[in-house]
Symmetry: C2
Subunit: 145 residues, 2 copies
DNA sequence: TCAATACCATTTGTGTACGAACGAAAATGA
DNA sequence: TCATTTTCGTTCGTACACAAATGGTATTGA
């Protein structure tokens, strides 16, 4: 049997050295920590809530862009936040395509009560890293945006 | 109105500096590149296929552990790989709970034909980074496992 | 004015991803 | 031997994430 380049290539493929795999594992770690520290609110839901608090009334798609979510994704997230009374939607009188989303008092209260935990979740996720390593990781990930 | 610590905290929360958000965005970037370069096979499916090629016949849950997938998740992935004829399942005579998974000839051929692209996807995902930055990122992400 | 274009929200379908619970089967220990 | 515990595969429910298609609305530019 002759030496097969495809075999050599395939044998040398190391899953645990691929970015995609490592990103997936790191995300799993983060989501597990988030669910434990802030149960009842997912990471994406918190991201949307936080952005909406800071931006003020915003259209649904615009909020999606601000939080790196697809139009179809932000819809589901917004629906769940509305169902829980954290966010409310009103039609835009100037543009009948738009639904303005805004945070309710309850939503703002939950956001403010959760902000500390949210930051702690970030540091806990990166707990295996030193302070300078954490900085480096954030800078490197930001470059991939 | 008195100075409110919660307000200050909430105002200083920066979504785009949180690991979770950056990890999500980096994963989106990676998955988009993967889907473009290797259409018809998802990143998770390829990971399972690759591991199974390297491990040889393996039980479903064991393959899940090797690829960092939940038992419920690996089941769906394995089902789709089996439906496409890339993987086949056989009962383990020694342990009647087990289904041994193994790669078909077609599955192995697809894996070997895709291995180059898989590595290129990794480097393309990290294209905005220099060689040393890529090394650093992989090392930092590995520490979070 | 009218047509092309862009944007908004929604729906459908597929594929992860996890928790929780289940029955069957195996391994362990007293 | 018997009871406890663990493992294996499965199912259900919830929540992202994206592609693609739809229909409504606004903007623009000829």
């Amino acid at each position: 049997m002759h030496y097969d380049f495809a075999d050599a290539r395939a044998a040398s493929y190391r899953l645990d050295e691929q970015v995609g795999f490592l990103l997936r594992r790191a995300s799993q770690r983060h989501l597990a920590i988030f669910a434990q520290r802030l149960p009842g609110l997912t990471a994406t839901q918190f991201a949307a809530l936080a952005k909406l608090c800071q931006l003020g009334p915003t259209s649904q798609n615009a909020l999606g862009r601000a939080t790196a979510m697809d139009a179809a994704t932000i819809k589901g997230v917004a629906d769940r936040l509305r169902a829980r009374g954290l966010v409310e939607a009103r039609p835009d009188p100037d543009d009948r395509r738009r639904h303005y989303l805004s945070v309710t008092d309850e939503g703002r209260a939950l956001y403010e009560a959760s902000a500390i935990a949210a930051v702690e979740i970030s540091t806990e996720t990166m707990a295996p890293l030193s302070a300078s390593e954490r900085e480096a990781l954030l800078a490197l990930l930001a470059k991939l945006g």
